[in-house]
Structures are given as C-alpha cells and as structure tokens.
Amino acid sequence: MNILIPHSWLKEFLQTEASPQKIANCLSLCGPSVEKIDRQNNDYIYDIEVTTNRVDMMSVTGIAREAAAILPQFGIKAKLKQSIYQPTRINPVGANLPPFPLKLTINHQLCPRFTAVVIKNIAIKPSPKKIQQYLETSDIRTLNNVIDISNYLMRAYGQPIHTFDLDKIKEKMILRLSKKGEKLTTLDNKIFALPGNDIVIEDANHRLIDLCGIMGGLNTAVDNQTKNVLLFVQTYNPKHIRQTSMTLGQRSEAAQLFEKSVDPELVMPVLLQGIQLFKKLTNGEQGSQIIDIYPQSYKPKTITTSLQLIKDRLGIDISSKNVSQILNSLGFDNKFSQETFTITIPSWRAKDINIPEDIVEEVARIYGFHKLPSTLMATPIPTNYPNDNFKLEHQIKAWLADMGLNEIYTNSMVSENLAKQSPYPLKSHLKIKNALSEEWQYMRRSLIPSHLEAIKQNPLAKNISFFEITNTYHKKPNQLPEEKLELIINSNKSFSYLKGIIETLFTKLHLHPQFKPKKNSAEIFIKNKPVGTIGPTRINPEAQIALLDLKPILKLAQLYPQYQPLSSHPPIFEDMTFTLPTKTYLGPVIDTLKKSHKLVQKVKLTKTYQNNHTFNITYQSQIQPLNDKMIAPIRKKVAATLAKKFRAKLVGKL
C-alpha cells in the first residue's frame, strides 16, 4: 500500500536537519521503501510503500517514528517531536457535560473499541490553508472543515474517523452484522445490497446509517446545514471489514487500514485530538461526555529472545548494549539478563511482533542490512537429487536449435476455441474460474492448436519450424492434474524434413525409433513403447507436427553409445536396386536388409524412381578383408529374402 506524505507535514512530527533525499535513502534501506520524491511548490512529497504488516506506518506520525529510529544509525540527529500516545491533561470524559445522548447496543466481537462524542454548534466552512495544503499534497480532496478534520486525523495518525450529522440519527445505535440483501446508500451516493455479515449500524427508525469501517450512510451525512455532529472513532473486526470491502469492491483507505488491525490504544488519543481540532476549525464545543466502550483493553505483551539467536541470524558479534539501544529506539522496552532479552512490545506493533524472529528482523534492519557481512554457505552440499534430467532436456533444445529450428514459448492457458481444436473434448479440460481474458480460459491438453496459431503469427515467413518443451494438463479425479512433459515440433516444410529432424534427434540420444503407420501419420515406438506421433494435422494439413512424450524418452535415452570396435579391414560398398510392389513401406524393407546378414553394416536408401529403389549397402568384417567372391553368396541371400518377404525384384543380374 502506498501513501503520499509531504515533507513539511513530516517535519511537524520529526525534528531533523536531514534533507528529504537523505531521509528517503535511509528509510528505504532500513524501513519503508520511498519509491519517489516529487518536488511541489517549495515542498517535497514522499511516495512511500508500506507493507501490509505495518499499518502503524500508514500515517505521518508512523513514518516520523520510524525515521527517528533509523536516521541516528546513519549519524544523523533525529527526534520525534510529539507522540500521540503521550497522555494529555485534558479531562477525557467531561464529567460536567451532558451524558452521551444515544442508546447504544454494541457487539464487542465486531467492535473491540467504541468511542464517540458530541460536538455542538459547529460552523461549516473551508479549512485553514495549511491543512488544505497538507491534504491536497497527500492526494486527499478537501471539502470543508468537518470532512477535512476526518481526513487530516486519518493521515496524520493512521486512525480512520467518521462524523455523523447527530440530528439525523434517531435515538439509538445498534451495531450488528447485516443480513444478506439489506440495502444501504453510502456517502458517495452508491446503493448497495449487502452481501451479509457486514458490520452496520441501525438507528431507531430501522435504517442502516453506517457501513462500518468502509463508508458512512448518506442518510446521516454531514451537509452544509449541519449544526451538531457525532465524532466517531472505532476499531472493527478486521476479517469482517476485509470481507465486505473485497466483496463490494469498496477499497476505501479506511477499509484498508481497518482490515489490517488498527491499534485500539490509538483510538482515544485521536478522539481527543479530534475534539481539539473541531474547537479550533469549526468553533464547535464538546457537547457530551465521551463514551468509551473497551471491554478488553490492551495488555502489553512480552517476547523473549536470546542474544545468541540475534548473533546467529545477523552473522555478527553484536553487543547486548547495541541491541538494547536499537530496541529502545523503536519504543520496545527491554531487559537483558542471562543472555536473553525480555522485550515489551508497544501497542502499535502488537499485531506484527510475535516471535523471536520478528525481533531479529527489527534489530537487523535498524542496524542496517547493508552493514552485515556477505558470505557463501560453508555447510555440506546436498546430493539428494530428483529424477528430472534437466541437462538432457536443455541439450535436446540446443540440438534442435542447432538443426535450424526456432524455440517458442506459448501460453499453457488457451481460449475455448483453441481447446475445442484439440483432440480432447472441451469438458475434459481444466477450466479456469476467474479468467483474465477469453484468451486464457482452459489449461491445454494439446500443444498442437497453440503451435498452429504460432505459424499464423508469421504470415510472411515461408519455412517455419518451431519447437517447444512444456507441460500439458490432464484432469484426475480429486487429485492434482497430471502434468505431462511434451516436446512438440511443428513445421510447414515437408514430412520427410520433420522425420529427418526426429531421426537425427534420436540418433543423438542413441535410440532407435520405429515408425509404425497409422492413418496419415506414424506412431513412434522405442523399445516397443509408444512415445509419440508424427504427421500432418487434421486442422491444418500443411503443417507437419511431431509430438513426443518426453519423460520416457529422457529415461530411455543413452548418454553415450556402446562402442563398436573399429575394423582394420576395408568395407565394400555396393548399390542394389529393387523393384517393389506399389505401396510397400520402405521402413521394414530397410530393417530387413540390415538384418539379412551379419556382414551388412549399413543400408542407405539413395535413390527412388517410381517403384525402383536403390539401396547402398556397406559390408564389413572385423576379422578379414572381404572380396567379391565372399560377398556373392550374401548378395544372393539378401535378394532372396527381399523377394520372399516383399515380393521385391532385383534390377539387373547377380
């Protein structure tokens, strides 16, 4: 959450000579991150990011308190001028004033602290220039003195305030949970049908007059005729506030503060400040006793932390004195005995500081992370590896890129249209509940549609060959889906080009795939296991696609070959041309040729003309040089085998 704070306002609470730039740098290193400083008419505006655990810093005093702790660590003098928590001499209740005029029914689970007071005879007018400037530079709209007081207090101290027009409230206030469908119009003229379980206030006319912690009701809003107001300062159950605010999408600053647990100890001091401001800015007077319903008041909590833990985590030999001083600077009272700190947590940090590690963080950041040493671990290196072979996965990508293919990354989430183009029914896809766009509605089961889209993205390119290694997602009942690692290669070149790529890839992996025809495509087998398919697609017949199930392939792959002894005897090469019957698959023919005799080392298809196919055959022996006499019987056997098995006719004579 970001807030804007003008330097001039900060200085009302912080005494320091440090320049805005210096303050920003120091805060960013040790506290909240100052993302930007803007110069505006002789002032500087800090844009500060406050983390969700530090609602105590969502205010000018909060930032001043941090700066007062941090700046001295950099050798810069800094002091908090006034703390809102210091007790004042003002009689808080106003015993001689009339009692609080409204009957109250408060659910304390919903409202841990409830305070309110009547301010009478106010005069609505613009606020003084200075307050208007503070608010405007903080990006808060100024309206009139009453509204400005609320906003001023909220930004100055981090406690949201509401002001009702007292005369518009009928007799009583019932603070309760809403029922589903109850209606309420907020100050900004929006009508809401409530989701239910929202904290609301009802008056004697059975009207809802406040959507607590989010925004007041229009029916009791302050207007130009308002004379008497109810100054209203509370804390609310953060869970309810968050739920209402998120459900209705009403992320007011008040809601964002309340949902993070505002300090209940802050309520009364802010109410008292409010009374003072009303007197000063509206000429109003306190018109009733203060009502303060606070059944479970804050009891300071303590945390014990050993000095050794702090030393271990910081990696330095910090002294107890140094730690103690850092804790003090943050308002953490502490005692040190038997090497252990007993630390009292101030109310404004009570929600955020719970365990010794929280103390470690406070000490480390104020000491300065930048001053801590930087060193690599000297502990044992783990050798408990998972099954994935990331190296080979990357190697496959590198080989494919080296063969001239381009790797792409396409989105795992696809549109309904793309999901429908896959071979799987739409219903069998994992559906996304809160899709950001129609483009991303389903988790894909097939990579093919996305890759056909990728080709379309490049209408001017002629020869496109893409590949990608990524998961597809397949539903399993009551379990996480199966995430299947696949390799897709996609090309608008020829089938034989793509097949050549696949064959080369398998050669690199020392695997011997078999391609078995299936309709227009081929199924790819390794050691009789189906591992993929290759062929044209149904949707776009121009595109050739190979799809491989990568995990079994990675498992079966050999990282090195089994070495075959080199023969010292020269090979003999010869070409044989066979006429094969039409529609004879060449794959099995070549396999048969290879297996026809042990001296046959290699078989290569070199030429095809109509039904005539020329094979270049390499014969080689490990034990002796070969000559034509020795080859002659083998040749006959080869021709006979092919004739028998494939009705192949040898062209020429033996």
Binding site: K397, D402, Y409, I432, E453
Partner: protein, 342 residues
C-alpha cells in the same frame, strides 16, 4: 639384400627430407621408385632366393615403397605451392547452415541453473497446478489473509480438497518450498526451483504466464550473511563482475525477516539513470524462512534455519546490460522477427 634395402630406405628418407622444391622431389621419386629405380634394381636378384626369403623380402620391399611414397607426399605438401593467379572474392557472403534459435527464456534458465549448480544447488520441478496449501497456507498465509492480495491468483473451477484447499495455478515458485522439505526430509537443502507461474496481470512488465526461479537453503545456523553472499555471487555471475546486490526491508508471510532484493544498474554502475531507480533495480523477494514454514515442512526450527529467494526469469533477463527489451510480452509472441535476434 635386407641390409641393402634398409640402407636404401635411410638414404631415401634423408634425401627427401632435404629436398628444396617439387622438381627435386620428382627426381627423387624416379630415382627410387621408378621403373628403373634403385628399388627395382635390388629386386632384380629376387628370383634367386628361396620361397621363405622371397616372402620376407617382398613384405619388406612393400613397406619401403609405402614409406618413401608417404615421405614424398608429406614433403610435397609442406613445400610451398605457387598460388594460381585466379581472382576470387573473399568478401562475398558464405554459405550459411540453417540457423535456429534457443528462446531467450531457455537461455536465461540455463544460465541461472549453471550459476546455482556451481554452488551446490539442486534443480527441481514442482506442479504448476497446485493446492492452496502449498501455494499459500503452508507458507504462513491463512485463507483470506490480506497478504494474499499481492498475488493475483488464478483459480481452477473444481471443488476444493478437504485438507489441501482450492486448486490454483501457482502464483510463485515458492510452492516448491514445503514440497522440497517433504522430498528431502532431512537438511541440508539447497533447492533451485524453476517453473511456470501464473497471475491475473498482463501489461508491458507482466505476462499472465511467466517463469520464476526460487532458491531455498536450509541447514544449521543459516543467517542473513549467507543470503547476501548468494545474491552477490549471482549478481556477479549473471550481470558481470561489477554488479552488486542489495537487500531492503519488506514483508512476506513466509519469511522473517523479509527482504526486497535489488541489483545495481548495469547501465550507470549504480549512479542512477533513466533505466533504474537511483542506481538500483528491484527484482524480487527474499528472507529467512519463517519457523512456521519449516514446521509445515516437518523441519525443526529450533535446530535448523534457512533462507529463500525468488523472482522472475523474464525480469532478471531483461535487465541484462544493453538488451533493451521494454515489453516482456514479446517473449511470448512467437514472432520470428523477434526470435531470430537471439
């Protein structure tokens, strides 16, 4: 005769070695190997020998011939050939082999993997579609906690699991933290989890699908200096020897203390320029592992401590000096004009 042949061999090799030009070599070739050459002269006496001797000398002569031929060939290659005076254009383009490209994300992932493997990290992969338990709850983020707002979570339309909660797309690689503790069981742990993540965000600096890498180290007495050491090491390896890292306070529910991690700007060496925020680039989050997270992974926080860090591959990569990619959506565009540049 055997001695004669050996002498002849030595003589021939010496002469060939000293030859100064091709003409002389050719003369030597004729002198030794020619029809009326010295070898053949010696062989004139061959028919008078017995069968065994014949075979032996035959082999010897053959070896001699081969040796002389190969010496002449080697020498001839070493003698300068006079260049032919044909004109050729060495500035004309060469014949290129087909050129493919590894996607920049793969390149970055590989580089990150290598860097962390050098210091003993084990790369792992965990589900992209995971239970709320691993993505949030085991990381000390109870259901409906405001801290979850930071992650624009994408949910799967399926009934929630009784104990694991809703099914979501991982918003960060931190879902690997408790999973890795469950896998390894007993520290030491040095995990590098790289994976796809998803958030409901798409603009110039965010893509709805992106990649993160996550480091997790758990052992005895792990502290902030080890995290700083690891980040500095990564900065130097990935961005160059001048690069530095910096940690600033932040808040994550699953680490305590928590940090935001910055790397020094490589454009301006940390001085501040139009590319950076006063000399630094914010890249991601880190912290010491929260005791509750260790407990969720069944590791005793009184014995062990650890640190974790994680951030986007895309962000990390686009900060490379001089790369100048200002819209990371391009990475997922399948546009060849873009891809061909890598």
């Amino acid at each position: 005769m055997q001695t004669k042949l050996l002498n002849l061999k030595n003589q021939a090799l010496a002469l060939i070695n000293e030859a100064e030009n091709k003409q002389e070599l050719e003369r030597l070739r004729i002198q030794f190997l020619g029809r009326k050459g010295q070898i053949n002269q010696i062989l004139k006496d061959l028919p008078q020998l017995d069968k065994q001797e014949k075979a032996k000398l035959g082999r010897l002569t053959n070896d001699l011939k081969v040796a002389i031929q190969s010496a002449i060939k080697t020498k001839s290659q070493s003698l300068k050939t006079t260049p032919k005076k044909t004109w050729f254009d060495m500035t004309a383009p060469g014949k290129s082999p087909p050129l493919g490209h590894l996607h920049p994300i793969s390149q970055a992932i590989e580089e990150v993997t290598r860097i962390f493997e050098h210091i003993g990290f084990t790369r792992v992969r965990y589900p992209e579609v995971d239970w709320d338990w691993y993505v949030f709850e085991s990381l000390n983020m109870p259901v409906d906690h405001p801290a979850r707002d930071e992650w624009e979570t994408i949910f799967i339309d399926t009934p929630a699991h009784k104990t694991m909660g809703k099914m979501v797309l991982t918003t960060h690689t931190s879902n690997g933290q408790v999973r890795e503790m469950e896998r390894v069981k007993q520290p030491p742990i040095r995990m590098l989890n790289i994976g796809k993540c998803y958030r409901r965000q798409q603009d110039r600096t965010h893509t709805v699908m992106f990649h993160q890498f996550e480091g997790l180290v758990i052992d005895k007495n792990i502290g902030i200096p080890h995290l700083k050491g690891t980040l500095d090491y990564f900065a130097r390896e990935f961005y160059g020897p001048q690069a530095k890292s910096r940690i600033r306070p932040f808040n994550f529910r699953f680490t305590e203390p928590s940090f935001e991690v910055d790397f020094s700007c490589t454009h301006c060496s940390g001085k501040g320029c139009k590319f950076c925020k006063s000399g630094w680039h914010e890249v991601g989050g880190a912290g010491l592992v929260h005791p509750n997270v260790l407990k969720a992974g069944k590791i005793d926080p009184s014995k062990y401590s650890g640190f974790a860090f994680g951030w986007g591959i895309e962000r990390t990569y686009t900060l490379k000096p001089g790369l100048n990619i200002d819209d990371i959506r391009l990475l997922y565009s399948s546009n060849l004009n873009f891809l061909n540049q890598f």
